[in-house]
């Protein structure tokens, strides 16, 4: 797999005013030794690049369209939260993603430097509620929890760190 390089600036979102270098780079490996690593700047436009990276990762690992769709969806939901609610909008190097295919699972690690946010604590939206009572928020995290298993959160080194898995057998 190709690896990419990103400078770890140690900057936290909401502070500093870095320009967006558009850079991507390799990140020191910790829990996931191989696979793809993606660093995203805090702009919605990065979604297109993310989708291309996910497509390449899936093709390279023989993963089907269903897996690709789910990974795109989950990563978009997390990334949009990071830039809209986490204080990482327009920040360089706002989020970092690692993915690794291992047996019948894709392991995903998602990190950002935004304000502390544990998606596992977010209230579940009521998806049976009548139309008048539907709230527009909360659906993104709901989708993440529906699709991914073994979701774990920790706050460490000034980062939100989320690990999770997507089974690759049909679901």
């Amino acid at each position: 797999m190709p690896s990419r390089t990103v400078q770890h600036t140690g900057r936290r979102c909401g502070r500093g005013h870095g320009t967006l270098p558009g850079g991507r780079a390799v990140w020191h490996n910790r829990s996931i030794p191989t696979g793809v690593e993606i660093a995203l700047n805090g702009t919605v436009g990065e979604l297109e690049r993310l989708a291309a990276e996910v497509a390449e990762f899936c093709r390279g690992n023989g993963l089907d369209e269903g897996v690709e769709f789910d990974l795109n969806l989950v990563l978009e939901e997390l990334f949009i939260n990071t830039i809209r609610h986490g204080g990482c909008g327009d920040q360089a190097d706002a989020a970092r993603i690692r993915m690794r295919a291992a047996g019948d699972t894709v392991e995903v690690e998602y990190r950002d430097r935004g304000i502390p946010f544990n998606p596992l604590d977010a209230p579940e939206p009521n998806i049976s509620a009548p139309f008048e009572e539907r709230q527009p928020g909360g659906l993104g995290i709901h989708l993440v929890r529906q699709i991914m298993s073994d979701v774990r959160y920790r706050r460490s080194e000034g980062e939100n760190q989320l690990t999770m898995a997507r089974r690759t057998e049909s679901k």
């Binding site: 436009g45 769709f69 939901e77 949009i80 998806i127 139309f131 527009p136 659906l139 993104g140 989708l143």
Partner: protein, 104 residues
């Protein structure tokens, strides 16, 4: 990327969407659907060629359905497998008018 076309067929305004309904395209999607329901009493949205939708796309759809309430019949038609899956996970099938085929 999302492509939106609108045309009138019989007494329906048909809005055809192609591509991704995501955070990048959601604002435009909401605008297109709102303008359709504000100007036409019957609107059918063709979702056959939408291969991706996220919660941002769902929000656009919900907001349009809200705008349609009381004065426009808004139907979501020919859901692609991807859209159906996300609609189902979010309970959209309980609150939106969904049709297997376009009305015309």
């Amino acid at each position: 990327m999302m492509e939106v076309t609108q045309e009138t067929r019989e007494d329906w305004r048909v809005v055809t969407l192609r591509g991704r309904a995501d955070s990048e395209t959601a604002d435009r999607l909401e605008e297109e659907l709102r303008s359709a329901v504000q100007q036409h009493p019957k609107v059918a949205v063709d979702l056959r060629a939408v291969d991706y939708i996220s919660s941002a796309g769902l929000r656009a759809v919900l907001q349009a359905a809200r705008a349609a309430q009381g004065h426009s019949d808004l139907a979501f038609c020919s859901l692609s497998a991807a859209v159906k899956k996300v609609f189902d996970m979010s309970g959209m099938q309980h609150i939106l008018k969904i049709r297997e085929e376009l009305p015309c």
